[in-house]
C-alpha cells in the first residue's frame, strides 16, 4: 500500500539515531527500509541495509516472537501505528495507549516518558472495569509543575498548547490541528542547528518530546496524528546539504501549504461547492454539539440567502452545543436549542441532519463526539438523511467496530459537577460509595447504515469509500 511510504520515512529517522546500538537494531528497522529509494538515508547505512535486508528475510520467521517482547531498543513512540509493508512479515504494532492493562508494557512506556520529561498523569481512583485497557486519568492541577527550565526542555509554544488542550480551551479536531501546526512553525523559526548535526535528524529528535508532552496532556487526535506524520515526511525530505535558512523556509512553506490546502481550502470546497447544494429554502436542519465545519456550512448558506432554521442538540458534560448556538445566532440564523433527551420530540420536524466528524475510519465507521451515533440512529428511524461533513485529512486507516477498544475517557468529575440551575449535584460524595463508577466517554462510533453521505472536499461520497480516498491521497 502506498500509504506506507510516509510511515517508512518516519521509521527511518529513529533507526538512524541509534547508530551506536547493536546490529539487531537495524534488523528491526530494516523491514522499514526495504526497497525504498533512500533519499533520506545516510550514505553509510546503504550497505548495511542490503546485508540486513537479507538477514531480515532469513529471520522473518522469528520476527513475530521478537515483537512479542516489546523491544527497549525501539525508541519511537508507539502512539502512531507502524504499518506492515508489502511483502514484509513485521506485524502491526498496537498503540500503547490501548494496552493500559498490560503492566510490563506500561512500565517500559513510563521509563520512556520519564526520559523525555513528560509530566506523569494520575489515574482515576476508581476505574471502570470495562475500560481498563484505556487510560482513565483525572484532571491535574498543574501539568507543568515539575518541569525544569534546563536546556533541552520543552519549547514554550508547546507548553502553552498542551495546557490549552488539557483545559479544553482549544477543542475540536480542526482547532487542535491548527494550534499544533502554529506551534510547530514557532519551533521551526526558533530552531538552530547544532554545529555537528544534520537538521533533519536533530529537528525530528527535538520534536519527539514535545509530541509526548502533548499526548500526556490530552491524547492526540487523528487530525493531529496525520499532520505530524506529514511534517515528519517533510522534515525527512530535507537534503543534508541544504543551508539552514532555506531548509527552515521550506518547512514553514510546507506547513502553511498543508494548513491552507487541507483545512482552509477543503472547508471552502465542502461548504460552497457541495454542502450548499444540499440546503434548500424552508429546511429545518439539526446539528449536534459544535463542529467548526458545520457552522461554516450553515453560515455560508445563510449568507447565500437561503432561508432555513437550525435545531442545535446538546449533551452533557461538555455542553458544546451552546458555543455552536452562540455562533449561529451571531450570524442571524434562527435557532432552537434542546438537550439530547428531547431528540425524539424534535426529530419529527427535521428535514436534514448535518454532523461533524473527528475521524473517518477505513471500514466506513465515523468516529465523532459521543452522542453522534444516537442522533444518527434516531434520524434514520425517522427517515431523515444524515450528512457528515469532514475533510479528507481526517481519514485514518484504523478499523474499529465498537466504541470500546479505542476511545478517550474524560474526567469523571465533570458529570458530578453542579447542575445548571445551581442546585448542588445529586452525585456529591460519589467517591465514598464503593460500587459506584462514573464514566465519561469522549468519542463514539457511528455505523455506516445510519449515514446517508459524507461530504468531503473531493466530493460527496458514501462512507464505505474512505479506503479509496486514502489510497488516492497517499498516491499523490
Amino acid at each position: 500500500m502506498s500509504s506506507s511510504s510516509s510511515k517508512r520515512g518516519s521509521k527511518d529517522i529513529p533507526c538512524s539515531d541509534d547508530l551506536g546500538s547493536a546490529a539487531a537494531q537495524t534488523q528491526a528497522a530494516v523491514p522499514s527500509a526495504k526497497g525504498e529509494a533512500p533519499a533520506v538515508e545516510q550514505h553509510g547505512q546503504t550497505k548495511r541495509k542490503t546485508k540486513a535486508e537479507r538477514r531480515a528475510e532469513q529471520k522473518s520467521a522469528k520476527e513475530a516472537k521478537k515483537v512479542s517482547k516489546p523491544p527497549a531498543k525501539e525508541p519511537a513512540t508507539d502512539k502512531k501505528q507502524k504499518m506492515t509493508l508489502e511483502g514484509s512479515n513485521a506485524p502491526k504494532r498496537v498503540p500503547s495507549n490501548i494496552q493500559v492493562d498490560d503492566k510490563k508494557h506500561q512500565a517500559k512506556v513510563a521509563k520512556k516518558l520519564a526520559k523525555q520529561q513528560a509530566p506523569p498523569r494520575t489515574e482515576v481512583q476508581r476505574q471502570v472495569k470495562m475500560f481498563s485497557h484505556l487510560h482513565q486519568f483525572k484532571r491535574e492541577e498543574s501539568l507543568t509543575a515539575h518541569l525544569s527550565f534546563a536546556s533541552g526542555g520543552i519549547h514554550p509554544a508547546f507548553l502553552r498548547l498542551g495546557l490549552q488542550y488539557a483545559e479544553g480551551k482549544i477543542c475540536g479536531s480542526n482547532a487542535r490541528c491548527i494550534g499544533l501546526l502554529a506551534a510547530f512553525k514557532q519551533v521551526v523559526r526558533d530552531y538552530e542547528t547544532p554545529p555537528d548535526k544534520a537538521l533533519a535528524r536533530d529537528l525530528d529528535n527535538r520534536i519527539k518530546p514535545y509530541i509526548t508532552f502533548l499526548a500526556q496532556c490530552r491524547p492526540l487526535s487523528v487530525s493531529m496524528g496525520n499532520a505530524i506524520k506529514q511534517l515528519k515526511v517533510k522534515i525527512a525530505q530535507i537534503p543534508p546539504d541544504m543551508p539552514e535558512e532555506k531548509a527552515k523556509d521550506r518547512l514553514l512553506t510546507a506547513i502553511d501549504r498543508y494548513l491552507y490546502e487541507k483545512i482552509t481550502l477543503a472547508d471552502e470546497a465542502i461548504s460552497k461547492t457541495y454542502a450548499q447544494t444540499k440546503i434548500s429554502n424552508g429546511d429545518v436542519i439539526l446539528t449536534f454539539a459544535c463542529s467548526s465545519i458545520v457552522v461554516k456550512v450553515l453560515k455560508d448558506a445563510h449568507h447565500a440567502g437561503k432561508k432555513f432554521r437550525v435545531i442545535v442538540v446538546d449533551s452533557r458534560p461538555k455542553l458544546e452545543g451552546r458555543e455552536c448556538m452562540r455562533r449561529l445566532v451571531q450570524h442571524g440564523i434562527p435557532c432552537s436549542y434542546v438537550l439530547l433527551n428531547a431528540l425524539s420530540y424534535v426529530m419529527k420536524e427535521v428535514s436534514k441532519v448535518f454532523l461533524g466528524a473527528h475521524a473517518l475510519l477505513a471500514n466506513g465507521y465515523v468516529m465523532s463526539r459521543v452522542g453522534t451515533s444516537l442522533v444518527a440512529l434516531v434520524a434514520s428511524s425517522y427517515n431523515v438523511p444524515v450528512l457528515f461533513c469532514c475533510e479528507t485529512y481526517k481519514c485514518c486507516d484504523r478499523v474499529q467496530t465498537d466504541s470500546f477498544v479505542f476511545n478517550e475517557l474524560g474526567d469523571p468529575e465533570d458529570l458530578a459537577s453542579a447542575q445548571s440551575n445551581g442546585a448542588c449535584s445529586k452525585l456529591e460524595g460519589w467517591r465514598d460509595i464503593q460500587q459506584l463508577n462514573v464514566l465519561n466517554l469522549v468519542y463514539d462510533l457511528t455505523p455506516p447504515d445510519f449515514i446517508t453521505m459524507v461530504i468531503t472536499e473531493v466530493g460527496m461520497i458514501p462512507c464505505s469509500s474512505v479506503p479509496v480516498v486514502l489510497r488516492v491521497i497517499h498516491s499523490v
Binding site: 449533551s315 434562527p334 420530540y345 444516537l374 466504541s403 445551581g422 452525585l427 463514539d444
Partner: protein, 352 residues
C-alpha cells in the same frame, strides 16, 4: 355535571380540591401516591355520598374523575384508578342483580360478546354498598403491594453476571433490581437523564444497595449498548396499543436496544395502564413541556432572546420496540395489553 357534584358533601369537595392542588404544585410526585390517594377518595365518595342505585354512583364517580383529569391532564393514574373503581361498581351491581357470577373469563360469553345490560344499574340493592367497599379495599391492597409483586418476579428475568441498562429514576425498577441483587451478582449501567438528573439519584441509590453500578451520560447510551444484555425501564403510562408514555430519552434508548437486539423490559404496575391511544405523532396533545431553565439557564445572557428552547417531559415509545411488560399480575407481551384493558376497565368508561 353540577347536579352530580351536589351529591358530594363539602368535606369531599374540599378533599378533592386539595388533592388536585397538591398534585399541581408537585407535592405529590409519584404515580403510586396519586393512585393510592385516588382510591382513598373514591372509597370516601362511595361511603359518604347518598346514592340509591348503582347508576347514580357511577355518574358521581365519573363526574369526579372527569373533574380531576381535566385539572391535570398529564397525570393518567387518577383516571385509570377511577375507571377501575367504576368497573368494580358495575361488576358488583351486575352480580347482585343476576345473582350469579359474571365471569369475565367465560369463553362462551366472550365469543358471543354478551355484555351486562345497563338496566341492572338502576335497580337498588341493599348490600351493594358493602360489597363495593370490600372490593375497593381489595383494590387498595393490590395497589399497595404492586411494587412488591413486581419485584418478586425479578429473579426470573435477571441472570448472573448480566449487564442491565436503565434510565431515569423509577421506584418500581429500583425495587426490582434491589430484589434481584439480594440473590444474584450483576452489573447495572444507568443513564443520567439530564435535565432532571433522575438517573444520578437512581445510580447512587443502587450503588448504596451494593449493586455494581456505572453512571453514564445520555450520549453514551448507543456506545455502551453493545455490552448490555437487557434494558429494564419504568414508565409513566402504558397506552392502550402497548406503547409507552415514558420519560424523555426512552425512545432513543429503545431504538438503540432494538438496533443491538437487546430486549426491552418494562416494569409497570397495573394502575399505569390507560385506555387512551396515542393519537398523533404531533405530540402537542400528548406531551408536557416544562420550563427551559434546566436546559439553558438564565445565566447564558443575551442569546436567550434569540433562541427557542424546549424541554419536553415525555416520550412515546411504540409497542414494537417493547419486548416484555412486567405487571404485578405477571409478565405479558405488548400485544396482550388490549385483553388486560377489557378485563379491568369497562368500555363505557374509556371516555370519562
Amino acid at each position: 355535571m353540577s347536579d352530580a357534584r351536589q351529591h358530594l358533601t363539602d368535606d369531599l369537595t374540599d378533599r378533592i380540591e386539595s388533592f388536585i392542588s397538591s398534585r399541581q404544585q408537585k407535592r405529590l410526585c409519584s404515580s403510586y401516591d396519586v393512585a393510592h390517594q385516588t382510591v382513598d377518595l373514591a372509597r370516601r365518595i362511595i361511603s359518604q355520598t347518598r346514592w340509591s342505585s348503582a347508576c347514580e354512583l357511577v355518574e358521581t364517580l365519573r363526574t369526579v374523575g372527569r373533574w380531576m383529569s381535566s385539572a391535570i391532564p398529564s397525570e393518567t393514574a387518577m383516571g385509570n384508578v377511577m375507571r377501575r373503581v367504576l368497573k368494580i361498581v358495575r361488576d358488583e351491581a351486575a352480580v347482585s342483580s343476576d345473582g350469579k357470577q359474571n365471569d369475565p373469563d367465560d369463553l362462551h360469553r366472550m365469543l358471543t360478546a354478551q355484555r351486562a345490560s345497563s338496566d341492572d344499574l338502576t335497580v337498588a340493592h341493599p348490600n351493594l354498598k358493602g360489597a363495593i367497599i370490600e372490593s375497593i379495599h381489595e383494590l387498595m391492597e393490590e395497589i399497595e403491594i404492586s411494587g412488591h409483586n413486581i419485584s418478586i418476579q425479578s429473579l426470573e428475568h435477571i441472570h448472573a453476571n448480566e449487564v442491565v441498562m436503565t434510565c431515569g429514576h423509577s421506584r418500581t425498577v429500583e425495587a426490582f433490581l434491589k430484589a434481584a441483587a439480594r440473590k444474584r451478582k450483576f452489573h447495572v449501567i444507568v443513564a443520567e437523564s439530564a435535565p432532571s438528573y433522575q438517573g444520578q439519584k437512581m445510580g447512587k441509590s443502587l450503588a448504596e444497595a451494593g449493586i455494581e453500578t456505572t453512571l453514564i451520560t445520555d450520549s453514551a447510551v448507543f456506545a455502551m449498548m453493545s455490552r448490555v444484555n437487557k434494558v429494564i425501564i419504568g414508565t409513566h403510562t402504558v397506552l392502550a396499543d402497548g406503547g409507552l408514555k415514558a420519560l424523555n430519552g426512552a425512545h432513543a434508548l429503545a431504538l438503540a436496544a432494538h438496533h443491538h437486539s437487546v430486549p426491552v423490559v418494562v416494569c409497570a404496575a397495573l394502575f399505569k395502564l390507560s385506555p387512551q391511544f396515542h393519537c398523533a405523532y404531533d405530540q402537542d396533545t400528548f406531551n408536557k413541556i416544562v420550563g427551559p431553565h434546566d436546559v439553558l439557564p438564565f445565566a447564558e445572557g443575551g442569546v436567550l432572546s434569540d433562541v427557542q428552547v424546549q424541554n419536553p417531559v415525555f416520550d412515546y415509545v411504540p409497542p414494537d420496540l417493547v419486548t416484555l411488560f412486567i405487571f404485578n399480575t405477571g409478565g405479558n407481551a405488548p400485544s396482550y395489553v388490549y385483553r388486560l384493558l377489557s378485563e379491568f376497565y369497562h368500555p363505557d368508561d374509556h371516555d370519562l
